[in-house]
Symmetry: C2
Subunit: 222 residues, 2 copies
Amino acid sequence: MRQPPGRGQRSSGERKPREERWPELIEVATEVFYEKGYEAASLQGIASRLGILKGSLYYYIQSKEDLLFEVIKSVHEEGLANIESLATGDGDALQRLRKVIVGHIDHECGNLKKTAVFLHELQALAPDRQAQILGGEHAYRGVFSNLVATGQKEGLIPEGLDPKLAALWILGSMNWVYRWFRPGGEFTARTIGEQFAEMTIRGLAVADLQAPGAVPGEQPAG
Amino acid sequence: MRQPPGRGQRSSGERKPREERWPELIEVATEVFYEKGYEAASLQGIASRLGILKGSLYYYIQSKEDLLFEVIKSVHEEGLANIESLATGDGDALQRLRKVIVGHIDHECGNLKKTAVFLHELQALAPDRQAQILGGEHAYRGVFSNLVATGQKEGLIPEGLDPKLAALWILGSMNWVYRWFRPGGEFTARTIGEQFAEMTIRGLAVADLQAPGAVPGEQPAG
């Protein structure tokens, strides 16, 4: 996996090895950005919460923006790797889409604070770094639009649907979850994922629907 | 279209009647909050753009937070009134839901900056004001969950779907649009609204789905 950036292997009593400290730094930075917002957050506050001197942070990063970039990049890369692996498994396009939706919502609900920081603070990054992340965001959307296009080739999804619009429709419903999901609350991530996947697959699948809005045929037992 | 207020209108003619100035103030405050973010925005900057003295703003509001509250409240109330009127029209629940989705996306795409300020800056308000808006947010969600529950009573939507989860699923897909919609871009608000409504209605409607990956009438696990 990737090596955390560092300025060499200096060490002192205070310093844990880089590879131990790095995930902890990302975790704490995420919490501070989440609680205070990026603008109001300070490297001093992050260092204090880690129990290290502010100066020691410069061993890992050069600025607060570096840290925001690393937080956003980490949740983005993990999320993308997660759905890419689910999207390339067994099954037809709709079966794989179902797994991707359930898996993505599970990942999001397990990374609520990182997701919130990503979605709220992206614009605080310099333009080139935003572009770097946004390239990834298009990769993200591409996973969904490719599944929809594949489903169309497989005859499972009507040709008339625009795969890009369908992908944005799916992404919106999923990416909204971090705003209302509460761990230990009314719904588990699994319940949300299963029901969302069910509605989404129905929404995309070729079906014997009459004109939508008109009364369809028989109600299935259940 | 509207004329930018000029500095020449100052002194004796500076104060327009409140009813005239107010919508202009909300419009300009929205733009400044959108461009700079709430934290970095200043009453001085807003006054300058209006071509009035900063002190004159206190004729309308007492603080920057007042102004944020008014911006958020206005887009929220307009949006809610819009969907409530569409939800209570003619037709069965799915027909009305279709109109609500198309109408809401149209309203959102016509109010991109206000929507962005609402969704990004809500947490900058004092807790009691957040609660006041969030009460309205529940009213918002209620329009959708009520339509779903009505559709279930009408036999158009499977009983097993949770109306609240269905409402959150719909809201997410729609509320995400402001992040990627561009006026004059690839898709019109109408095209987005129509395709989103189509997929959503299919996703909710009782149907004889044949597609692998989804079993009709089967309840989501969990």
